[in-house]
Amino acid sequence: MNAKALIPLVLFAVLVGFLAVGLRLDPHEVPSPLVNKPAPAFKIAQLEQPEAQFSPEDLKGKVWLLNVWASWCVACRQEHPVLMDFARAQIAPLIGLDYKDQRKDALGVLKRSGNPYDITAFDADGRVGIDYGVYGVPESYVIDKAGVIRYKHIGPITTEALQKTIIPLINELKKT
């Protein structure tokens, strides 16, 4: 067999390789340009105490996790037990951003299935979500002591993602 006859076979193998990689990529995971940029500032009412407000400024000097969720978000329910574990471990403050929700529905969810959040900010019209480039809840952001976004997780946090990526990153950032 001469080398020329192998050319189509090699081309085919390259094509299969490209397709195999393409199939594994999730087009919904759009890399966020906000990573390594300062977390957008905001100051909005809290969910549980509408008269109190929350701003990322309040947590300057701490490493924290911002989790965007909503009562209407089905994948958030899947993520909820993982967040409860995270809250129990007391690794870092967990702040919720209740995105485009009704206050009564959101409070109902927290009452029924437990509240992992230290504070939940209430983003009724989704403006804060837009500043954070939220396009599919749930989304989570690891924010460092200087208020810079260091990591963005799109979709529900799995136990694996929490243990292998998020917690090690938080511990790393805490040292600096």
Binding site: V30, S32, P33, K100, G126, I130, D131, Y135, G136
Partner: protein, 153 residues
């Protein structure tokens, strides 16, 4: 009966008088036109095969609301694009900008074309020389001519 009839007519007339044409999404058609022009060039993050102008997803509606505000504030198209790109990355643009990470994307097809044309050129040259090399000897061409003449008779 007649009074009732009259009353119904009056009520109907009232309804017609208060009815309005369906309002545009924005009160200002100029703003709306610019919004459409800009958002047609942008991808909706939720349903990625749709443009921001055409999508009916909640996020697209919110983003159109934001863009409308920006347009009313007198922001330029470039500033509005920057607003979107700073939040969602170049992915929102249907026309990706030319920069080092997208050079392959922009130049790739032309590169492939050059390679293809080059390969075709080389192949044709080689085939030509092969044909020339396999030419007939003098004796053979004389025989061909002789045979052809015979055929004409």
């Amino acid at each position: 009966m007649k009074t009732l009839y009259a009353l119904v007519l009056v009520l109907l007339a009232c309804g017609a008088a208060t009815a309005k044409e369906a309002t545009l999404l924005a009160d200002d058609p100029v703003v709306e036109q610019r919004l459409i022009a800009i958002s047609e060039e942008m991808r909706c993050l939720v349903c990625q095969n749709e443009s921001l102008a055409g999508s009916r997803s909640d996020l697209a509606m919110d983003l159109r609301r934001e863009l409308r505000t920006l347009i009313k504030q007198g922001k330029t198209d470039a500033e509005i694009r920057e607003f979107m790109v700073s939040r969602y990355g170049d992915f929102v643009l249907y026309r990706p900008p030319v920069k080092p990470t997208t050079w392959l994307l922009w130049a790739g097809p032309f590169g492939l074309m050059v390679v293809g044309v080059g390969a075709l050129f080389v192949y044709l040259r080689r085939r030509n020389s092969e044909i020339a090399a396999s030419g007939l000897t003098d004796e053979e061409s004389k025989r061909v001519e002789a045979l052809l003449k015979e055929g004409e008779k």
